[in-house]
Symmetry: C2
Subunit: 630 residues, 2 copies
């Protein structure tokens, strides 16, 4: 067993109540690493193709990585995965915080939940003691109430939680899993899977200490992070991830009014600096992190009173509930954020369904009759807040929004389709493809649907300054952002894998490690004589398995698309006239496939690519479904 | 300019007498590295497709790597390349010794010779002083005479030489380039290209010192090599590369009688231990090396008197002139080696043409009428020695052997074809494909034709012991040797690239560096923040360019084959009944192509693969010749 791992995977079957452990060998860990890698492995191994995401046999997988809990900055992260009710394919959400660290301290490299409880339960893990407990009294209650009750019930204030609110209970397809009230595994509807299993919460307390192969090296990295922290993260610390919003709007890259525009006239009102100057109460953090990019906000008066227990909105939330709904009211956004965290709704997905409804409303596809009297114009902050509540509760129009785009289109007519800004059913996060061309391509390619964390933010590589993180890949020269040249596709392919690798290791994207530093850290944690080559092959493996899962579910290359909107030029603003070009986009996609060793029709690895990644078993499995090219 | 490079490439046009320097930028060096990488780059950039290898416009490229001359063991190596007269494709020979180090000390990262002199010349390089000098008086003389004359003429005993003998002058397709009398750039007929240019020798003397970014680290590696030297290299030091010959024969892996058998009844007579006990006079070495695997032999009496100035036979030579000709006489082999080194003939190619003739003779395809009275039975040591001389002089049957297999087949009839043990026209080196299955596949794939130095010796990876050098690639478990499973193909693909990388760096294959140590050394030499990922992409780039060169010359996938012989089982011996299987071989080849991103018909990279390697310019060039798949 490599140092850094616990050598134990905790398994729980809610249908039978069985709880047991598996003990994979060292090569399993070295090959699949953790996070998304574990998720993909178990979904491929254990799910029957074609099952409903709410079928009890779906697996809900909580997967830290080997970096998780190392006491280094950015080591609070993990992945939560399952077959997604939002996309019907590979589902996975990344999350920071403290929960995953506690799971590791309790002695587990992952937790895999299957089956469905007869009545609501929660899982209590205290080191080797693991039990399922009744949660009937918690069903229907918010995350904050749940935690309050459970802390008392367990007699322990130090317990860490992963939990769902009403959104998850109600199977809202954009429901998320909350951790400790303000860390969200937001994407692909993992909260709904947890709800379908009637699992209200996982509570964990661990007394162990993560073993590290070379603690001296880790301390050295810690010191380096501390020494450089002040200057390196000042911006993120001062104003959070929302700090750059005004600049983004000025550049024409801020999603506005359901991605119609790239600039928002009220940007200044909702930018990080304004938050700092107004509603900010404190700065929050994840486990052991010097960056402290999280926000804690409080609104004490008025109609949007907000409890600081829910943290504060990050950039994604400010974009999705703010500019993208045309809302320039930071207090309303803070309130919306608190509702989402209390009820377990992805702020991106939740907000995007509302901006979608707003555009449909403005185009007359729906009226006040459909909205229960709400005037769903862009900029209606009250309606935005109200619709979040209605989504979680599945009330009125909220019941439709809770089911995702297709249900709305079925109801409102096919004209609504062009306002559905999604890939594979997953609403876009707050990054404009006509501003970050490579990221746009990444939306199409991500196995989870539109996604910004296993992707490239190609505006970072336009000057020498940004090149440090890719030079070790042999990419030596800056590239323009609004470009899908083969050179950009190559950068994107490497960087997407690199981002996915961080997920698999349990490492935050905001860490300043260049690739070689990252390798040294993983060597120090594990004692493996590993390399950037091996780790990048690991990421390719993770990506290959996720694409394989989708291929087995019937996804094909045609499902890798970008919404029509982005092939239309911006009608105004700083980037007026700019759009993706269809032929260029298809060519870039094809190039990406070939660079990845993926079949052009199936959109998943060729047999030889599986074999190169040591995934012969995946190829053999997919062959039974005609999902491997000859 | 990265440390470790000189920033200067010396160019000489023999037709015009022009001598000049080019000064590539840092990214050029980081991308193409050196050695084979430079060869492939310049051949692709500067040769017109379809030229005869003896056309004056062919380039003869002497290319050290960035490791060359670092004062570390195994740093005496370089590549010499040109379009090959033997294969008609990408030509390249590896060589150790001292010449390349001297070239680096003189201030050059490579020397590129083009054109053709009107009368024989030699090139004299003394740091910045470079001149072409008349060599009429040297033409027709042996390497040893040439060096003696030139040392006097230049008044310097310390000069290092690359030179040809009569084999090169006479355009023998297996002619090699000798360095300092006993280091040979043996393969693909580079000596004939030098001869065609009427360039008798390159003499070089450098007074510079190679700059190193982190000299302390290099000293540390030096010490590590010295400390571990005794135990690590004892075998190689004691008995040279020929030390394992008896064991090889016992295992059934010793090429015997033109690859008919894998065991030789007289193996004991020609093994390294016997050499040590009989004719060994001294142990030789390349520049700065603790390994000292080279031999110096002397035969003072009898019919095979041999001057120690020519060093001694390595395993390849003992195999090709010995067991593979059925010759169990070590003195005859030593004599044959001396002849080859005096006249500049590749011992492998030279010996293989003789074993071919012997098998044709034994099958009655040729008779004493054809051989000038020689009884060309296997085991006829005198005939073997005689035929080497006749080949270099192009006398009698030697004139046919000098032209390669096809010329002989044209003369002796198509029945001779099955005795031609070659790939792409290049005779096999002394490694039996029915013993090392992966290496057999490698013969088919090597762009230079059958080759053992950019390839895998897959017998090394059958136990845990051998895995250290591939674990950093993520290959964690041993694999059987007589196997072409997809897992083996993957190992082979990575390891072939890794071997090629050593060539591009100028690093001997016998060095004990595992991949990560190698990366650290290159970082220390250059100051680059490079990685195993980037360096392996560099090797893939080198391979891609060589395959591209061949594709432009008309080579296709069908030219990647293994001789029929290896699909027939061994008729006797330890591996009786063992052979390659055609369907398995084709499948493995196809898998290798796909793992490499090569088109199945063209046998060279797809457009996207070129683009991923930053070789858009190669793709664009090849498109004009229909040699890139759409």
């Amino acid at each position: 067993m490599a140092t850094g791992y616990q050598g134990k995977i905790l398994r729980v079957d809610l249908s039978t109540g069985r709880i047991w452990c598996e003990h994979p060998d060292d090569n399993f860990y070295r090959k699949y690493l953790g996070g998304w890698g574990f998720v993909a492995y178990y979904l491929l191994k254990e799910l029957k193709p074609g099952i409903d995401a709410f079928d009890p046999s779906n697996r809900l997988i909580f997967a830290p990585g080997v970096y998780t809990g190392t006491q280094l900055s950015g080591s609070g992260r993990s992945a939560i995965g399952a077959k997604s009710p939002l996309t019907g394919g590979f589902g996975e959400g990344d999350v920071g915080g403290f929960f995953a660290v506690e799971l590791v301290r309790a002695g587990y490299d992952a937790l895999i939940v299957e089956g469905k409880a007869e009545k609501p339960v929660y899982l209590w893990i205290e080191d080797d003691h693991v039990e399922l407990r009744d949660a009937t009294h918690l069903w229907g209650r918010s995350t904050v109430e749940t935690e309050e009750v459970l802390k008392k019930e367990l007699g322990n204030e130090q317990v860490r939680f992963a939990e769902i609110g009403r959104a998850g209970e109600n199977l809202v397809v954009n429901a998320c899993i909350m951790q400790d009230l303000h860390h969200a595994a937001g994407r692909t509807g993992m909260g709904a899977v947890m709800g379908s299993k009637k699992l209200k919460a996982v509570a964990v307390r661990g007394s162990g200490k993560k073993a590290i192969h070379d603690q001296a090296k880790i301390r050295q990295v810690q010191q380096w992070l501390l020494d450089g922290g002040k200057e390196r993260y000042q911006g993120l610390q001062d104003h959070g991830t929302d700090g750059g919003l005004t600049g983004l709007s000025q550049d024409g890259g801020l999603p506005t009014r359901n991605f119609q525009l790239g600039d928002f006239e009220e940007a200044e009102k909702i930018t990080g600096k304004t938050m700092t100057d107004t509603i900010l109460k404190d700065r929050g953090t994840c486990y052991a992190c010097v960056v402290r990019c999280k926000r804690v906000v409080e609104v004490k008066e008025g109609k949007y009173q907000t409890d600081p227990v829910f943290g504060g909105p990050e950039y994604e939330t400010v974009g999705s509930l703010g500019s993208n709904c045309g809302v320039g009211d930071l207090e309303a956004i803070a309130k919306g954020n608190a509702i989402c965290n209390a009820e377990g709704l992805d702020t991106i997905g939740g907000g995007m369904m509302i901006s979608f409804a707003m555009e449909c409303f403005e185009h007359g596809l729906i009226s006040e009759k459909d909205t229960g009297g709400l005037k769903l114009n862009f900029g209606n902050a009250e309606a935005m807040v109200k619709l979040l509540e209605m989504t979680c509760a599945r009330e009125g129009i909220g019941d439709l929004l809770a089911q995702g785009y297709q249900a709305c289109i079925d109801q409102w007519g096919p004209a609504a389709k062009k306002f559905a800004i999604e890939v594979k059913g997953q609403p876009l996060p707050m990054h404009e493809p006509r501003y970050k061309f490579g990221l746009g391509l990444g939306y199409a390619i991500s196995p989870t649907g539109a996604d910004h964390v296993h992707n490239i933010h190609d505006t970072a590589f336009t000057t020498e300054v940004g090149m440090g993180s890719v030079q070790a890949f042999g990419i030596l020269e800056p590239l323009p952002a609004n470009d899908l040249s083969p050179a950009k596709v190559r950068l994107m392919k490497y960087y997407t894998d690199f981002s996915l690798l961080k997920n698999m290791l349990g490492m935050c994207l905001f860490l300043p490690y260049d690739p070689n530093e990252m390798v040294e850290i993983i060597q120090a944690v594990t004692g493996w004589d590993t390399s950037l080559f091996e780790l990048m092959k690991g990421a390719e493996r993770g990506m290959a398995m996720a694409r394989a899962f989708n291929a087995r579910e019937g996804f094909r290359a045609k499902d890798d698309y970008l919404p029509d909107r982005f092939f239309d030029p911006f009608p105004s603003g700083p980037r007026k006239g700019v759009s993706h070009k269809r032929h260029e986009f298809r060519a870039a996609l094809d190039t990406y496939y070939q660079m990845s060793g993926w079949d052009r029709e199936i959109g998943a690895p060729t047999r030889a690519k599986y074999q190169e990644l040591g995934l012969d078993w995946v190829a053999a499995d997919l062959e039974r479904y005609g999902a491997v090219a000859a």
